[in-house]
């Protein structure tokens, strides 16, 4: 029998009460309906012994951000680009690099509440049993919701301070609609990303930009329109331009140069370019530039006039009254 609860952000189908009722079945707010809505999840009949941790490992939604926001200032990095431009592959590559022991310069990996989500996208770039062929992560569905799938990384900087970073993994169609109409119904998620993002990476697909005339021209216009939207209310927020699929031969260098100049003329305050690819090249260091792009965004966000802000000395005490955040975490 499907369960429902009138309290916002209470999800009884998870088998737990947001207000802490135990046993959960006796919660006075719990409503059972005989009608099975399509897509509703049936709660298990068994009362759960024990408690769940506050994360599921899968990508986060908007309400899931609250426990993180309670412990530190969360930095939201928006990945912006057309469909198939390489946004998800960038994230998959980032995680694969961390997993194989490489680090974001200046930041150490200190955990994640979305490990299963990272593993899922990185799984596409992983050979299982040395047999299957790797594929690029498939298209991120636009039906995923109004808020993009959010992937979390906890990092500790060299000064020992904890930084929570959220990456948005949003479908390209959102940005496609957003670039032509910022108020379009299908662009709500893109607008959300732009409003709340602390920094952005704009993806330029090198394969498209080196393609045949029609494709090449359209790709360039699309990226330029997206850059226009991004720069409009950018302010001090950093913007990185990522040349994705950089291994593709640059047969039409003029297109890239024009695009480069176009964005530079918009004069974004904090702007840098990165070239990335899943292929590795020791000279150009495409893999390292993935890590450097993230480090640059974080460094830029956390510094004023090129200097890192002084570290806040963490409160070390066992007194629960003084250590409020420790109780929440």
């Amino acid at each position: 029998m499907p369960l429902s609860c009138p309290i916002p952000h209470c999800y009884p189908e998870d088998g737990e009460c947001q207000q802490g009722c135990r046993p959960f079945r006796e919660c006075p707010n719990l409503q059972q309906s005989a009608v099975t809505d399509e897509g509703s999840v049936l709660a298990s009949e068994e009362e759960l012994d024990g408690r769940r941790v506050s994360w599921t490992g899968s990508v986060l939604g908007r309400t899931d951000l609250e426990p993180l926001m309670a412990r530190s200032r969360v930095l939201l990095l928006g990945l912006v680009g057309m469909e198939n431009a390489g946004k998800t592959t960038f994230l998959a590559l980032l995680y694969s690099l961390l997993r194989s022991g490489q680090a974001i310069p200046g930041y150490r990996f200190a955990g994640s509440t979305t490990l299963a989500g990272w593993e899922l996208i990185a799984g596409f770039l992983t050979f299982r049993d040395g047999y299957n062929q790797i594929t690029f992560p498939p298209h991120t569905s636009r039906n995923a919701g109004r808020v993009p799938g959010l992937l979390h990384l906890a990092l500790r900087d060299d000064a020992g301070q904890l930084v929570d970073v959220i990456f948005t993994d949003a479908p390209g169609e959102w940005f496609n609609e957003w670039r032509s109409n910022a108020q379009a119904a299908g662009a709500v998620g893109a607008a959300w990303t732009y409003e709340h993002g602390d920094g952005f990476l704009l993806f330029a697909d090198c394969e498209e930009l080196a393609g045949p005339g029609l494709q090449r021209g359209a790709a360039r216009t699309n990226i330029q329109m997206m850059a226009d939207r991004l720069v409009a209310k950018l302010g001090k927020r950093p913007l990185g331009l990522v040349w994705a699929k950089s291994d593709v031969a640059n047969v039409r260098p003029t297109v890239r140069e024009k695009l480069q100049r176009y964005i530079e003329e918009k004069q974004p305050l904090r702007y840098r370019e990165f070239a990335v690819s899943v292929k590795q090249d020791e000279a150009v260091r495409w893999h390292q530039q993935v890590l450097e792009a993230v480090a640059w965004l974080l460094d830029t966000l956390r510094t004023e006039a090129g200097e890192r802000q002084p570290a806040v000395v963490p409160a070390v005490t066992n007194d629960l009254f003084l250590l409020r955040r420790s109780v929440l975490a």
Partner: protein, 283 residues
């Protein structure tokens, strides 16, 4: 003044938890250790089978899933007493714990009451992760040929975590249950990561630092530990409870002659070997 510690011994499937506790018991009762037994376990059922097997030069059996016994004994060194708690569960239970992100009330009690954790990881059974960061795309061409022979269902995606993510997630969950803040480096619980079955790794007998092995085999976990625990509050050791592999059916005659209390060693963080298995208890 005496100080009480509670050590929780945990490990994944096949990590050799029961062998270690059986051997630890042998060391304590024969007095071949820096710790002495204060209170012997009232009920030895959990490890009795392993003790008997080892005495006959045989390998112990795999713990049955569903068994929920606990064994605890109190040991002391100088003025420090430590209660060792060893929940004897099949390693699969740890996997089940992870899949639901659900911590049972029994595990909650064990985790929140402990002040030190001993985590056993068996490195020789870790699958090697091959992805584009380790193999490169050129490898894809070789695979295309092989792929033609693979069945469709073999290519399905599993949401199961790979080994490095699994251990990070387990420790994150345990810290959460223990209500430890992630904002400052963790001082308590103190953590010992023991790489078990050290003898199967084929390493030189001395001078190999276990921390370097961990960094090489599970870099993500090593990075997580370095960023999460305070420098003096965690360490990596190596462990070979038996010093060799035993067969479950054919007894090893030399092992029987020497007695199980003479077998096994701990690799200290410095790379030095010591036969005193109680070195893993505290530091």
């Amino acid at each position: 003044m005496s100080k009480a510690h509670r050590l929780l011994i945990i490990g994944g499937p096949n990590a050799g938890k029961t062998h270690y506790v059986g051997q630890l018991y042998h060391r304590l009762v024969t007095g071949r250790s820096s710790y002495r037994m204060v209170t012997a376990p009232a009920d030895l059922t959990v490890i009795q089978a392993v003790i008997d097997k080892l005495a006959s030069g045989l390998a112990g059996e795999h713990t049955q899933s569903g068994l929920n016994e606990e064994i605890s004994f109190v040991v002391a060194k100088n003025q420090t007493t430590t209660e060792l708690v060893f929940p004897d569960y099949a390693g699969e239970q740890v996997r089940a714990l992870m899949s639901g992100r659900l911590v049972s009330s029994r595990w909650q009690a064990l985790i929140s009451q402990s002040t030190e954790w001993l985590l056993l990881i068996r490195p020789d059974e870790l699958p090697v992760i091959e992805d584009i960061t380790t193999r490169g795309l050129a490898y894809v061409e070789d695979l295309k040929q092989r792929r033609k022979n693979t069945k469709k269902e073999d290519q399905s995606l599993e949401a199961e975590l790979t080994a490095p993510a699994f251990w990070v997630e387990l420790l994150q969950m345990m810290l959460y249950v223990k209500r430890t803040s992630a904002l400052s480096p963790v001082e308590e619980p103190r953590l010992t990561v023991a790489l078990s079955c050290w003898d199967t790794l084929g390493l030189a007998t001395t001078g190999i630092e276990p921390a370097a092995e961990l960094r090489q085999r599970l870099p993500l976990l090593a990075a997580f530990l370095e960023a999460t625990w305070a420098p003096g509050a965690w360490r990596v050791c190596g462990l070979s409870s038996l010093g060799q592999s035993l067969d479950p059916t054919t007894p090893d005659e030399d092992f029987v002659d020497e007695g199980p209390e003479a077998a096994g060693y701990v690799v200290l963080p410095s790379g030095e070997h010591t036969p005193d298995l109680t070195h893993l208890i505290a530091f």
